[in-house]
């Protein structure tokens, strides 16, 4: 199998247990999953179902208790600290629910700082902001932007960092409906136009309609795994 044929993300009996003894919490319970490259996946589920845990394990910011996560052929669990940093830099981009922008950097600097890790420059960062409709706000600080604008900066940051996998944790959770739809459209474009694998965690089932595939988690297990027909996606 050549690298192009590898699934973008694969999990094998992936398990994450928090705590020990009788109070231990099994957040993920032997999850098996294969996500081909370029797929737009939505993870649905109630609070505490294990969605964010799965996302964090895929992104290499949490360690599994059992099983394996393989991203683009890399077994994330086997990476040492240094290799894990390289993995995060080159393989995944994050969009956090609460934006997590650096308050002392302007919009373009926030993008440039992270995107620069994969070789993007100032022009790329400006272009990414332009793509998300923030060409005027490039030199504004986070405190001078609205919540929707901040989230678009966070997405521009993830988009400009040219990694094969883009992970978004409740990217529309803090936004109004119109801003939320705009954000999702941007992520969909990243998938369609740049062939990036996108995994979005949400508990808003209406977002599922934009996905290629919907996974539903309950108590740390995938209970629904369905594909969405392209013609049924909203335009």
């Amino acid at each position: 199998m050549t690298s192009t044929e590898l699934p973008a993300i694969e999990t094998r009996r992936l398990t994450r247990v928090y705590g020990t003894g009788p109070t231990a919490l099994r957040a993920l319970d032997e999850v098996d999953l294969i996500v081909p490259a370029g797929q737009f996946v939505v993870l649905l589920g109630p609070s505490g179902s294990g969605k964010t845990t799965l996302l964090n394990l895929i992104g290499g910011i949490d360690r599994a208790t059992g099983g394996a996560v393989i991203v683009d052929g890399i077994d994330v669990g086997r990476l040492d600290r240094r290799a894990l940093t390289t993995f995060r830099r080159e393989q995944v981009s994050f969009v956090f629910q609460f934006f997590n922008l650096i308050p002392t950097l302007t919009a373009v600097e926030n993008v440039e700082l992270i995107a620069g890790l994969t070789g993007a420059d100032h022009a790329d960062a400006t272009a990414a902001l332009d793509d998300v409709g923030l060409s005027v706000e490039v030199d504004r600080f986070p405190s001078q932007l609205s919540g929707g604008q901040q989230q678009r900066v966070a997405i521009a940051r993830a988009l400009a960092k040219s990694t094969p996998v883009l992970l978004a944790d409740e990217p529309t959770g803090a936004l109004d409906r119109a801003s939320g739809e705009g954000v999702l459209a941007l992520l969909r474009r990243a998938c369609d136009e740049h062939g990036r694998t996108v995994v979005i965690v949400t508990h808003d089932s209406s977002i599922a309609a934009m996905a290629d595939r919907v996974l539903e988690l309950v108590d740390g297990r995938i209970v629904v795994d369905r594909s969405v027909q392209p013609e049924r996606r909203p335009r």
Binding site: T52, R88, R89, F96, F98, I102, E109, I114, S143, K161
Partner: protein, 780 residues
């Protein structure tokens, strides 16, 4: 329980848990308070106890209030006795006489005791053997310093020069004298070499036999040490034309020790205030951060009806508790350390009575001080918390950052690298935190520079006085006037480089309005034994600093020089001035001295060749028949250096404290800075930013803040050190503040290194961040 008191009870639980959760930071702040309290309590207690021990010693031994030398002593004694308020008066012989102790010839101070052996003024504390009794013959009670130095005790014998022959003197006792707690020969000769000075208390019959010409002295004790009666006695004495009259305040030993006790008292306030200031700032930084972090909770409490008064009480209470955590053990340790320091100081100063009383005043003032620091530093952030608008506080998070680029970037013509931009803007983002940390650096620098300057100044003063100015290695007192043949004979010795005739004697220099007691040294105009800025003039006198200041004389003015020992007074022109560390020495040339009819010199001052072993030469010269005494000036430097060991000990202690304070402040500042940006750090790590980059930016920020505080810290330290050294100035020694470049560099390096080391625990915490948890936090 009302709703408000219930809220308070719950807030008390919160307070306990907050203390547990932030224990590292709390301990850093409490540790700084503790250091301040330890210093405050220990210094205040030791200073108070030292003062009490000192005064108690003078009281217990019925120390005199007035000393009068020369003049009509019997008449003066009668006049004094008739003065209201005078409790006791005694007359005695008080002369410097050659003695041999343990085969070593020296000029000893011989003091006569009353014939009946009953002393009403200046009693002795007999350490070994017995005191003088009625009917005693050729016996002595040796003063403790000499007995210890020569390892002599009751039953041993010494010899005394009676003007024509050496006479044996049996030691019957060893005693401590309040007049010689510090073995100063006179106010102008405060430092003496143990091998060359001894005080022997002898029956008056022996004293008058070895020094029939005196001088004699009247000593008087005044009821309650009434200053008006003391002043009256001094006026009476001076109007009778005595050669010397002084009060207890000017008594040589007291004068020397008062400088130490006074300097110690200023220390007891200066450093603790600096440390407590630092503790206050650390508390302020900690609480400000906490309130910002708890903004939403506070908003919720206020929205639910908790009064702003309760919020204020909660956070002020937090600051007070942190202060008390440091203060209580600090006061206990300080009390114990204070006792130890009192004993250390009384031992070092030779004060025989050590009083270590527990003082509630010290404890309560320390506690009050700590609570005041907690209250003041907690009030401002607590008031901010109490005024929080609940609606504002509970809105979705607004990035707390800046809304414009820093002025440094606007001024700088080129675009700064991203890392530099982040570093600079992070500083601009929390100006108060930066300011308080920089002020902490300033305080650390003040403590370090003051301590190091104390060390440098004392070292420099000694080097200047005893290397550049006083170049005598040895002085030899002959039993006849110095001749050219003597000089040639001495210079013919291989180790001796130069031999010059010299005279040294106590004089009183006066104008019609003022008088100044000085040590007059007479040298050849072209002397090499003393470093003058210009050769000594052929006529006139060169005045030392105290004489210049006291007399207010100008060059060309006429002053009267009186020599009590020779009972002569001559008018002399002021030919110049010198500003030396020992300010009470004036000079004239041998030519001028001879022209004025002065007695021929009997002393030869020697400088040795580089390889000259002064101890060997000293012993060689002491063995000569025509030599009465040999003074080893090099040994005096060693004695003075030895006296400074306590200064070095103190400096070392202060440096350690300053380092601890810097660690506490920096740890707190960096921990808070990192805590404010945990979310950013985690985001950067989640995106693959190397930890090294994060460490570099944090370290760069720390170093920049430290650099901000270094220059003002150095300047303020310089100023404080100058004022501090001024406390030690007295008639015996002038301390012009010196701070060497290496000390300044050491202070800078220490502060920077300590600051960088103090941030390591905070950086380790960043390395161990729980990324999944942090990136989901709402706070930024």
């Amino acid at each position: 329980m009302t709703g408000e008191s219930q809220a308070r009870a719950i807030l008390r639980h919160k307070l306990r848990r907050d203390l547990r959760r932030r224990r590292a930071q709390i301990l850093a702040v409490a540790g700084t308070v503790l250091l301040g309290m330890v210093l405050f309590t220990a210094n205040l207690d030791a200073s108070r106890n030292l003062g009490t021990s000192y005064r108690e010693t003078y009281e217990r031994f019925l120390t005199a209030d007035v000393w009068v030398t020369g003049g009509p002593t019997d008449q003066l004694a009668a006049d004094f006795a008739a003065t209201d308020g005078v409790v006791a008066v005694e007359t005695r012989t008080h002369a410097d006489v050659p003695m041999t102790l343990d085969s070593r010839e020296l000029v000893a101070r011989v003091i006569g005791g009353p014939a009946d052996g009953l002393v009403d003024v200046n009693q002795l504390l007999v350490n070994e053997g017995r005191g003088l009794r009625a009917g005693d013959g050729w016996v002595t009670v040796l003063e403790k310093h000499a007995a210890d130095n020569f390892d002599l005790g009751p039953g041993d014998r010494v010899e005394i020069w009676d003007g024509s022959a050496w006479r044996p003197l049996e030691i019957v006792g060893v005693a401590t004298s309040a007049e010689y707690l510090f073995p100063a020969r006179s106010r102008t000769e405060v430092f003496t070499v143990p091998d060359e000075f001894a005080v022997a208390f002898v029956p008056e019959s022996v004293a008058s036999a070895v020094a029939p010409a005196g001088p004699r002295q009247v000593v008087a004790r005044v009821e309650g040490r009434d200053p008006e009666v003391v002043a009256e006695l001094l006026r009476t004495a001076r109007s009778a034309g005595v050669s010397d009259a002084y009060a207890l305040a000017d008594q040589p030993s007291n004068l020397a020790l008062q400088a130490d006790v006074g300097g110690f008292e200023s220390l007891s306030y200066l450093f603790p205030v600096l440390f407590l200031g630092a503790a206050g700032m650390a508390t302020y930084v900690l609480l400000s951060r906490m309130i910002r972090q708890e903004r939403t909770q506070i908003g919720m409490l206020v929205a639910d009806g908790v009064t702003s008064r309760t919020i204020l009480r909660h956070y002020v209470g937090h600051a007070l508790v942190v202060s008390l955590i440091g203060a209580i053990p600090g006061i206990v340790i300080g009390e114990l350390l204070g006792r130890w320091m009192t004993t250390l100081y009384t031992d070092f100063l030779g004060i025989p009575i050590t009083v270590t009383r527990f003082s509630w005043a010290t404890v309560l003032s320390a506690l009050g001080f700590a609570l005041a620091v907690g209250f003041v530093s907690g009030w401002v952030p607590a008031r901010t918390a109490a005024r929080i608008d609940p609606a504002e506080a509970m809105r979705p998070p607004t990035p707390t950052g800046i809304d414009s680029t820093s002025w440094a970037e606007r001024v700088w013509p080129l675009t700064l690298p991203m890392t530099a931009r982040i570093v600079i803007r992070n500083l601009a983002r929390s100006p108060r935190r930066v300011a308080t940390t920089a002020v902490g650096v300033v305080l650390s620098m003040v403590v370090l520079i003051t301590s190091l300057a104390l060390n440098d100044t004392t070292g420099s003063v000694i080097d200047r006085q005893f290397s550049e100015i006083d170049r005598r290695d040895l002085s030899v007192r002959l039993d006849h006037p110095v001749t050219d043949a003597d000089l040639l004979a001495l210079e013919s010795l291989e180790e001796i480089a130069t031999a010059e005739p010299s005279i040294e004697l106590l004089v009183v220099i006066s104008t019609p309005e003022n008088r100044s007691e000085q040590l007059l040294q007479v040298f050849r105009a072209d002397t090499v034994a003393h470093g003058f800025p210009a050769p000594l003039p052929a006529s006139g006198i060169v005045l030392g600093s105290t004489a210049r200041e006291t007399l207010g004389a100008e060059i060309g003015d006429t002053v009267t020089v009186s020599v009590p020992a020779l009972d002569v007074s001559i008018p002399v022109n002021v030919a110049g001035f010198v500003a030396e560390p020992i300010p009470s020495v004036s000079y004239t040339s041998l030519e001028a001295w001879t022209a004025a009819g002065g007695v021929p010199p009997t002393t030869v001052v020697l400088t040795l060749r580089d390889n000259g072993e002064h101890a060997a030469v000293r012993d060689l010269l002491a063995a000569r028949d025509d030599v009465i005494a040999v003074t080893d000036h090099r040994a005096m430097i060693d004695t003075i250096r030895e006296l400074l060991t306590i200064t070095i000990f103190f400096v070392g202690l202060m440096v350690i404290f300053a380092v601890l304070m810097t660690i506490g402040l920096m740890f707190n500042a960096v921990t808070v800075a990192l805590a404010e940006r945990t979310n950013e750090m985690a985001t950067l790590q989640a995106n693959g930013m190397p930890r090294r980059w994060i460490r570099t930016t944090v370290t760069a920020e720390t170093v920049l803040v430290v650099l901000l505080g270094l220059a003002p810290g150095a300047l303020l330290g310089w100023f404080v050190a100058g004022r501090f050294m001024g406390q030690f100035d007295n008639e015996s020694f002038r301390f012009d503040m010196v701070l060497s470049r290496s000390s300044l560099l050491l202070a800078v390096v220490l502060v920077v290194v300590v600051a960088v080391v103090a941030e390591l625990p905070g950086l380790r915490r960043v390395d161990r961040l729980d990324l999944p948890a942090v990136v989901r936090e709402r706070s930024v």
